[in-house]
């Protein structure tokens, strides 16, 4: 692990080799590599020179106080910023194994959105039936008929929701509880077989039991998909993630395996945040 000084200074680069050395077990390939990412809302610079690699099939947490840019970083991955005027990217996010630059001007945002799936903070299920919610992404990709039904069932099983909704597939999604709706949104995100799952504070609006179910789910999903989870709840990051990145005021302060971040952070600012001196 490259050593850092205590001051907030230039961003820290996580070297994949170092992570591999520390984890004696499986080979870890990178899934997405962020290099030199700057992001602007009009004239306001929200992300400053972010350099970070997300390994494949791992859960990466991004933590930090409000306004640090973690959601902004997440939303760069599926180009949601493009929906709003006066947003500008600089730098690169390379997706592996295809090698595509996610934020390059030559890439089609629509195509990027089809490779990624996002789950938002507020469970925003569509006011359609449970079935149609999950089926929507599939229908966009031209899936029909029997195959559609099978994939919907599979996604609902993956999201640990099938048993609870199998008798009410045609009912409105709004008859489900908040936790169930969020799992429905996860099923909807999984149905399209994404390369990465992007969670933007997925459990902050839910009760502890629903939160626990979703955290278990995230843990199981990582074998299929790479997960990035943005959370303001440090304990959640500690429970769920393999490695954690700490951001502050648009800069990446430190990134390392979760255990190390919470037990032995290198940077003083990280330590202050973890121990609750500010937040």
């Amino acid at each position: 692990m490259t050593s850092t000084n205590d001051e907030r200074g230039p961003a820290v680069r996580l070297r994949v080799q170092a992570v591999v050395e520390e984890r004696a077990d499986s080979e870890i390939a990178p899934k997405a590599e962020v290099s030199g990412l700057n992001f602007f809302y009009g004239r306001l610079q929200a992300l400053k020179d972010i350099n970070l690699t997300f390994p494949a099939n791992q859960v990466g947490a991004v933590i930090g106080p409000s306004g640090c840019g973690k959601s902004t970083l997440l939303r760069c991955f599926n180009r949601i910023h493009d929906l709003y005027p006066e947003t500008r990217y600089e730098g690169k996010i390379i997706l592996y194994p295809s090698g595509i630059n996610l934020i390059g001007p030559e890439t089609d945002p629509l195509e990027m959105r089809m490779r990624m799936s996002m789950v938002f903070q507020k469970p925003n299920a569509f006011p359609k039936s449970v079935f149609e919610n999950v089926a929507f992404g599939l229908r966009l990709r031209g899936v029909k008929g029997k195959e559609l039904e099978e994939q919907v069932e599979q996604s609902l099983r993956l999201a640990a929701l099938w048993d609870e909704v199998k008798d009410r597939l045609k009912q409105s999604a709004y008859t489900l509880s908040g936790g169930q709706q969020q799992r429905l949104c996860i099923a909807r995100a999984l149905a399209t077989d994404p390369e990465m799952l992007l969670f933007d504070e997925p459990t902050s609006a839910l009760d502890p039991i629903a939160t626990a179910k979703i955290e278990d789910l995230i843990f199981e999903l990582k074998s299929k998909v790479t997960v990035i989870i943005v959370t303001h709840n440090m304990q959640q990051a500690a429970r769920v993630s393999d490695y954690t990145a700490f951001m502050y005021l648009g800069e990446l302060i430190e990134v390392c395996p979760t255990k190390q971040m919470f037990e032995n952070p290198t940077n003083k600012l990280t330590e202050d945040y973890i121990t609750g001196h500010f937040g």
């Binding site: 629509l110 089809m114 929507f136 966009l140």
Partner: protein, 302 residues
Amino acid sequence: MSDFKQIIAKRKRQDFIFNVLGIICTLVGIVTLGALLVDLLMDGAARLDWTFLTSFPSRFAERAGILSSWVGTLLIMIVTAFTAVPLGVAAGVYLEEYARKNWLTNLIEINIANLAGVPSIIYGLMALGLLVYKFRLGQSVLTGGLTLAFLILPIVIVATREALRTIPQGIRESAYALGSTKWQVVRHHLLPYSIGGTLTGIIIALSRAIGETAPLITIGALTFIAFLPAPPVQQYPPFISFDWLWSPFSVLPIQMFNWVSRPDQDFVVNAAGAGLVLIVVTLSLNAIAIVIRYRVRKRIKW
């Protein structure tokens, strides 16, 4: 301590006074409307019967009926609805979802709201110059329908925009995040979810158009028509005819106005009868709008 009691008592008195004033103001509106309805009922209810609804106007009050008027109103409403609804909804969707938010679109938004307040006779004058003379559409059902369509277009646009605005941004972002194009989001999500509010706005706009008199007089609606336009469905090919679009017409409010202006008291009774029909139609349209709004609100709660 007693200061508090005095101050509180005074504020409670003010509260009570405003409560009473509010009730009085509400009653003024309701009682006026009620008196209007009762007056109409007393004058005209006796006159309402099947022959009244199926006779043409006549010099003789007992034989005069509103057949040509209500057919004219119906045909005009059909043209208005088929013109204003697609144009208005499409414009509303474009302005809300597609257009960039800059000074130009702000200007357009302000002006559309202004257009809703322009006096209806101005629309009549515009239609006279543009549709009747310039485009040579004549003093026909088509012209009348288009005039009223222009009149209610701003209302439909605003209603569509307001309905779209109630859809939370999270729904849009979820739909985009799954890989939809803008049109797919509009077609599969925004239009279906906003249809309740849009439809309510459309019905209210139509119920306003039904009662418009001034613009139609300006473009030359007649007051005495003793024939009906050619029916749209015919026995012989080509089976669908659009001749009725080019036909002269009259509408219920104009017929009422014409009758009320006559010295013969019996015609005033006829006018009351026609007025009752008009009010019943308007109130029914509004009732439908309320039912739709209620049903949609039950189904979709953001």
